[in-house]
Structure formats: structure tokens, C-alpha cells
């Protein structure tokens, strides 16, 4: 296992470089010669996101309001900024940067981290690797600062605040080498940097001069790494591991048909859909994938797109199943002057191994008629007609309150781990969606009703078990929530119910206790 070497790349003026590449002008030439800023709309008005070199020379700084900047520099030219586009560009750049390492990760908004462990010798050493990277970025006309270090934290610190193209060797002492860098090199939030500066801690070396317990006590309630300088310092020195989330290129399986003659009739569309589903099954089978989500797009001649999405309960690539599910969703399509392009995409796919198809007429409706459908197919068919939330499975949830002890989730998801119910807690078979109030007509001296009215019928309680007291969950509810005393009762006709009294007489949380019927027992 070679020692870990991380290359940090900071795209110093990412937004401006992108804008300049889009405009096709060199730095300091064309539109870029005059003061120019990219602005972002905020709640208080437009604010400068980034400023070019001429603008900086004129005294304008990023982060100021546009109105203030105009006062300083009346000739300031503004263009809208594009943070989403910048992030997409950064993602593509991260994939591209894998030419220098095994994997790469994003460091938004304007950085990249590449894992170059055991790779540098292919370029003739780390210095040569950095030179190669600098040359390549210069060719792309992107301004960068880079550094290589054993940890991502140290590489980031050197790239942002160290000398250009710095290399921190594996056997060098990071603490002494980085001691002169400012505390902002720790990747901390702005308010923490401000706090450290107010405490008089300006450089990383200053932090080393303070007792660790004192710092730990000062930042004891800061859990996140970006708010706690100690965690960041440990990450920088490699004492605490910092996993990088690698960027992996994923290709979305896609099949499409361009139609020579725009189609206007449903039978033809069904025909095209069947062809597409068969194509898609072949594509997915080649990659051993199954679709979890499907998106059908139909481009119309008059410039409109119809999109239908559906989600499957389990990964599948059975063409007959896909066609059948979409058939229910295509009834309301308005073809207008005709559909000229139909495309089927799989935004979400899961691994699905090859399996034995039905021997006779694979995947056909007749096969399902003969041998029955699988559970996932059955759930898909029901969910497409009844809606996504109609098919659910009850799972236990950690709560004392009966109606909260059960939650509903998608039927084929694994159940979350939960403590099982205690066997001596008798619970009803069915629970009403809302507990219904009952009118107590006659109560025994110990408080249990003898006779009550529910939905217009009078029930005489023959037998009862209880109370089972369930206190309110004070950590979740208001302080005025009342406790519940549950009784399992059987009336004179034999019907069994689960009723409760809300509150106690004189508990100071409302008037007289009320009674509710919540569950029906078998």
C-alpha cells in the first residue's frame, strides 16, 4: 500500500473563467478589459459573486451589494452568475481530473481533490505531475493553484494559502511546515474563523501553543467538522481519517426511436413502445441492470414534450411488464399534430443478474396467466393504477403512543430494525385513523364507564382489562399533553374494543377527562 498522496486543485476564478470561455475572450481583452462582475440575486437585492481583475483594480470586491459597487465604480458591467452551471462544470472537471489519479472528489464550490497515491512515478515524480497539471489547465485557460500533501486537509491548506505548486512530503512534519498558514486554511466556517481571530489565534502555529483540553472545552458543542478547529486540525495532520466521496461516471441507459412519419394514433405508439421496451431490455441485460425508474418522453411535432415517469417496486427489465405499466399511463396523451421522437430512459437502475425466462413465450401475458405473477410485478400493477402511496407495509416505530408506533413504508424495502412489541401488551387488530369520542352514559365508581354510546349505539361493558397507562412523550409533545389510560373491553354482545381516557380528573391540563374509542379487537 503506497502512502496516501492527495492533490488539491483550487480553481481560483472558476465562475469568471467559465464566463470568459463562453464569451471566447482572453483574460484582460475584449469585455474583460473593463471592470466587470458576475452578480447573484439575493433576498436583499443583487450582490456581486465574483469580480474580474480590472474591477478589483477599480476597488470593487466580491460580496458587496451591486448598488454599493456602482457607487465606487460607475462603469461596472454586470453579468448574471450561474452557480448551477459552475457545479455541473466542476463535476465534469472532476471526472476529467482523474487523469492524474485513481479517484477524484468535489470540493464545492470551486475545488477538486484527486487521490494520486502511487501514481506520481508515471509522470516522473510529483513535481512533474504538478507541472503537467499546470500546463494542462493553462491550455484550458483555467486559473488554478495546486498542492500535493498526505491528507486532503493539508493539500487544501497549501493550495489556498501556501506557495504555488507546493509539495508536502510524506516524511515531513506537517505541523511545522504549515505553522505559518492562517487559520482560514483549516476549511472552517466564516464565523469560526472570525471567532479564532478575535481570540488572537491567527496562524495554525498559534493553535499548537494552546492546551488541547482548553480548546476542546471552548468548542465542546461544535459537532460538525467545519465548526470545530480541533477536528479540522486532526484531519489536516492525518490523525482523524477524512473519507473522500469519489465522483463516478454513470451512463443513463437510453433508447429512442425517430419516426419517419409523425404518429397520431395510439396503436402505433403502443407498437413503438413495445419496440423500445425490447431494445431497453437488451441494453439493460448487457449491463446486468434492472430498471427501478423509467421515463418515457414523446417529442411532438409542434414543439412540446410529453413525459411520463413511473417507479417499479423491484428492479426489472421485462418488456411485457414495462409495456403493460406504461399502457395505463398513456391514455391521456394528446398527440396533436403527431409524435416524431419517442425516448425511454432509466434514471435509476439497480444490478439485476440474468435469470431464467419463461420457457414458453418469454415475458408474455400468457405466461403470467399460467404461472402467476411475481410479487414485484403485482405491486407495480396495483401501484400504477391506484397511485404510489396505495401499496404499503406497516413497520414498527419507536414510540409509546399507539398510533405512532406504526409507520407505513414501501412494501419491498427492508424493514428498519426495531424492538419487537412486548408479548403482554394486548393490542387491537385494527386502529381507527382518528380515535372517536364516546359518550359515557354511566360510570362505575372506579372511573371505568359501565355504559357508553358510540356511533349511535349503546354498549354495555361486560368485561374490562386495564388500565394500561401510556404517558405522553414529553420530549416530543407540548407540556399540556395529557396521559392516556387504555382499557380493553368486551361489551354484552361480545364485541371487543380498545378505549382510553384522556387525562385524569384534576391533573390541571384541561377540564374533565374525555373518553375515546381507538381500536377494534378481533
Amino acid at each position: 500500500m503506497p502512502p496516501r498522496r492527495i492533490l488539491a486543485i483550487w480553481l481560483v476564478r472558476l465562475a469568471l473563467d467559465r464566463w470568459r470561455l463562453a464569451e471566447g475572450c482572453d483574460e484582460g481583452a475584449g469585455d474583460d478589459a473593463a471592470p466587470l462582475a458576475l452578480i447573484a440575486d439575493t433576498a436583499h437585492g443583487p450582490r456581486l459573486a465574483s469580480v474580474n481583475r480590472a474591477g478589483t483594480a477599480a476597488g470593487v470586491r466580491a460580496g458587496t451589494m451591486l448598488a454599493d459597487a456602482r457607487a465606487l465604480c460607475p462603469g461596472l458591467v454586470v453579468r448574471p452568475s450561474d452557480p448551477v452551471g459552475d457545479l455541473a462544470f466542476l463535476e465534469r472537471l472532476a471526472l476529467w481530473a482523474q487523469r492524474w489519479g485513481r479517484s477524484s472528489a468535489l470540493d464545492p464550490p470551486d475545488g477538486l481533490v484527486v487521490d494520486t497515491s502511487g501514481v506520481a512515478h508515471l509522470f516522473g515524480g510529483e513535481a512533474a505531475l504538478l507541472a503537467d497539471a499546470a500546463r494542462t489547465f493553462a491550455q484550458r485557460r483555467l486559473a488554478v493553484r495546486m498542492a500535493i500533501a498526505p491528507t486532503a486537509g493539508a493539500a487544501w491548506a497549501l493550495a489556498h494559502h501556501g506557495p504555488a505548486n507546493a509539495i508536502l512530503g510524506a516524511d515531513e512534519d506537517a505541523a511545522t511546515r504549515l505553522a505559518q498558514l492562517p487559520v482560514a486554511a483549516l476549511r472552517l466556517d466564516d464565523d469560526v474563523v472570525l471567532l479564532l481571530r478575535r481570540l488572537g489565534l491567527k496562524r495554525l502555529g498559534d493553535l499548537a501553543g494552546i492546551d488541547r483540553p482548553a480548546l476542546a472545552r471552548r468548542f465542546r458543542n461544535r459537532r460538525s467538522a467545519a465548526a470545530n478547529p480541533l477536528i479540522r486540525l486532526d484531519q489536516l495532520l492525518g490523525i482523524v481519517p477524512e473519507p473522500l466521496l469519489p465522483v463516478v461516471a454513470a451512463e443513463i441507459p437510453l433508447v429512442q426511436r425517430r419516426l419517419m412519419e409523425p404518429i397520431r394514433h395510439r396503436e402505433l405508439l403502443d407498437r413503438v413502445l413495445a419496440d423500445l421496451a425490447a431494445d431497453l431490455a437488451r441494453v439493460l441485460e448487457g449491463r446486468a441492470l434492472g430498471a427501478r425508474q423509467l421515463e418515457l418522453g414523446a417529442w411532438k411535432v409542434d414543439g412540446e414534450v410529453i413525459v411520463r415517469r413511473l417507479e417499479l417496486a423491484a428492479a426489472s427489465r421485462d418488456p411485457a411488464h414495462i409495456v403493460r405499466l406504461f399502457a395505463a399511463r398513456l391514455d391521456d396523451i394528446d398527440a396533436g399534430f403527431g409524435i416524431e421522437l419517442v425516448r425511454l430512459r432509466v434514471p435509476w437502475a439497480e444490478p439485476l443478474a440474468l435469470d431464467q425466462a419463461d420457457l414458453e413465450e418469454p415475458g408474455s401475458e400468457r405466461g403470467a396467466e399460467q404461472h402467476g405473477t411475481s410479487l414485484a410485478t403485482c405491486i407495480d400493477r396495483i401501484a400504477v393504477r391506484l397511485g404510489e402511496g396505495a401499496v404499503r407495509r406497516p413497520v414498527l416505530h419507536a414510540s409509546h403512543i399507539p398510533e405512532r408506533a406504526q409507520r407505513w413504508q414501501s412494501p419491498l424495502l427492508p424493514a428498519p430494525p426495531a424492538q419487537d412489541q412486548l408479548a403482554f401488551h394486548a393490542r387491537p387488530l385494527k386502529l381507527l385513523d382518528r380515535a372517536e369520542p364516546i359518550a359515557v352514559l354511566y360510570a362505575t365508581p372506579d372511573g371505568l364507564p359501565r355504559r357508553f354510546r358510540w356511533r349511535g349505539a349503546v354498549h354495555e361493558i361486560a368485561r374490562a382489562e386495564g388500565p394500561e397507562r401510556i404517558a405522553p412523550e414529553w420530549w416530543r409533545e407540548r407540556g399540556t399533553a395529557r396521559l392516556r389510560d387504555y382499557y380493553r373491553i368486551e361489551d354484552d354482545a361480545g364485541a371487543r374494543y380498545w378505549i382510553y381516557r384522556l387525562g385524569l380528573a384534576g391533573d390541571g391540563r384541561g377540564g374533565a377527562p374525555e373518553w375515546f374509542l381507538q381500536g377494534l379487537c378481533a
Partner: protein
């Protein structure tokens, strides 16, 4: 169906075997794929009996397949939704619940469930006598259940006894339970008064059906009015005991 399917040999054999029994008793539910249970919506006797019969039919097998519970909107409003901690212990982790809005949707979900080979059984709850649930719809359910071998118990809440093609049709309501062993003042294990008012292969009759104490216990029958007293159920050695 374009052409009527002939009776399968299994059904004929079953009907022959049933002719010799002639009287329903617990443990025979195997022979019937489509039952209807008429019950009041103000109590959970219908669903309770359906679950007890389903358990009774699959007591010997260690089936770990899922089962489906379909409810239409009125059934959910009147009787509530299934509550997992209160379900029988062997069934509670396998439930898949379908909340349909209309009776048509519920019937569609029931039929799709019956055609699924990965389901152990299907329970439906439909309130009243909706127009969608006529004899044709009932016959479709029967055929699907027979064809794929997935049993269906259809609970009809507050419904009149309309035409239906179910093999067994029950009318049930709760019965007072036996006092449990440790607390005589408490309600005991579930009990139902069940009337089998129409059956293809059995004589009609009335019973008090009791679930043996303990979760998912065996179903016990006490005859209220026997057609043939010499075949007293309590003396029949074939009856399971708790």
C-alpha cells in the same frame, strides 16, 4: 374468459371427499379458495375471523410469503386500518396493505393479488354493496383464486346478502369470550358466532368459533345447532385441539 373451463380433477376429488364429510369443521378451509364473510363494521369480527380461517388453513405449513390486505375507503373509515402490533404473530411481518379509494380499485387490486404466485393469501374488506361488486365481479375473483390457488377471504362490512359466487359464505358477529385463565374479569381469546349460510360442498350450520388462547392459536368450533347430532364435532377425533 372465452370458453368455460371444465372442472379440474382436483375440484372433483375435493367435492367427493367433502360429500363424505358433509359438515364443515376447522381445518377444511384448504378445500375452498374464495369465501365471503358478512360482518358488522362496528366490530372487527369479519377481519378477525378471516385471519383466523387463514391461519387455520396454513397452520401446518411454514409459509413465509407475504399476504395482501385490501381495503376500500369506506372500509378504512368505518373499521380503521390494520395495526401491526395487534396482528397474529406469524403474520404481522408479512402484511402488505393496499388502500384503495373505490370498490373498483379494490376489486382490481384483489384480482391482481390473486394472480400473484408470491402471495400466501388475500384478504379484502369492502363496505356495503357497491355496484362494481356484482355477480360477475365475484365470479372473476372466484376464477382467479381457483386458477392460481391463492385463497381469498372477502369481508363484506354492513352488506346485504347479495348474489355472489363465493364457495363458502359466512355471516359472523362477535361472541362473548371465555374468561381467560389468570384474570376472569378481562376479555379472553377472540370468539365469533359464525353462520355458514351457503356452501358448495358443506351443509349449512352455525358454530361458535374460538381461537385457542395464545397468539395464532388453533381454531376451535362449538356447534350451536347441528344438522346431524351423531356427528358431534366435539367427539370427532379429527378435530384439532389446542
Amino acid at each position: 374468459m372465452s370458453q368455460p373451463s371444465p372442472l379440474s380433477p382436483a375440484i372433483i376429488a375435493r367435492s367427493r371427499a367433502a360429500e363424505q364429510v358433509a359438515q364443515w369443521r376447522p381445518g377444511l378451509a384448504e378445500s375452498c379458495r374464495h369465501s365471503e364473510i358478512f360482518a358488522s363494521a362496528a366490530e372487527a369480527s369479519g377481519a378477525g375471523l378471516a385471519l383466523a380461517l387463514a391461519l387455520d388453513a396454513s397452520l401446518d405449513t411454514s409459509d413465509e410469503r407475504a399476504w395482501l390486505w385490501v381495503q376500500d375507503k369506506a372500509a378504512r373509515r368505518l373499521g380503521g386500518r390494520p395495526y401491526r402490533p395487534g396482528l397474529p404473530r406469524g403474520l404481522r411481518h408479512r402484511l402488505i396493505h393496499v388502500a384503495a379509494d373505490s370498490a373498483q380499485d379494490a376489486l382490481f387490486a384483489l384480482e391482481e393479488g390473486l394472480r400473484c404466485r408470491d402471495l400466501a393469501f388475500v384478504i379484502g374488506e369492502i363496505a356495503g354493496n357497491p355496484r362494481a361488486l356484482g355477480f360477475t365481479a365475484s365470479r372473476r375473483l372466484s376464477l382467479a383464486a381457483e386458477r392460481h390457488g391463492v385463497p381469498l377471504w372477502l369481508v363484506r362490512l354492513d352488506a346485504a346478502r347479495d348474489l355472489g359466487s363465493a364457495r363458502l359464505r359466512w355471516e359472523t358477529r362477535s361472541a362473548p369470550s371465555l374468561p381467560p385463565r389468570w384474570n376472569a374479569a378481562a376479555a379472553g381469546a377472540p370468539a365469533w358466532q359464525a353462520e355458514l349460510f351457503r356452501a358448495h360442498t358443506y351443509q349449512p350450520g352455525r358454530w361458535v368459533l374460538r381461537q385457542a388462547a395464545g397468539q395464532g392459536g388453533a381454531l376451535l368450533a362449538e356447534g350451536l345447532r347441528q344438522a346431524q347430532p351423531e356427528r358431534d364435532l366435539d367427539l370427532n377425533p379429527a378435530i384439532r385441539s389446542a
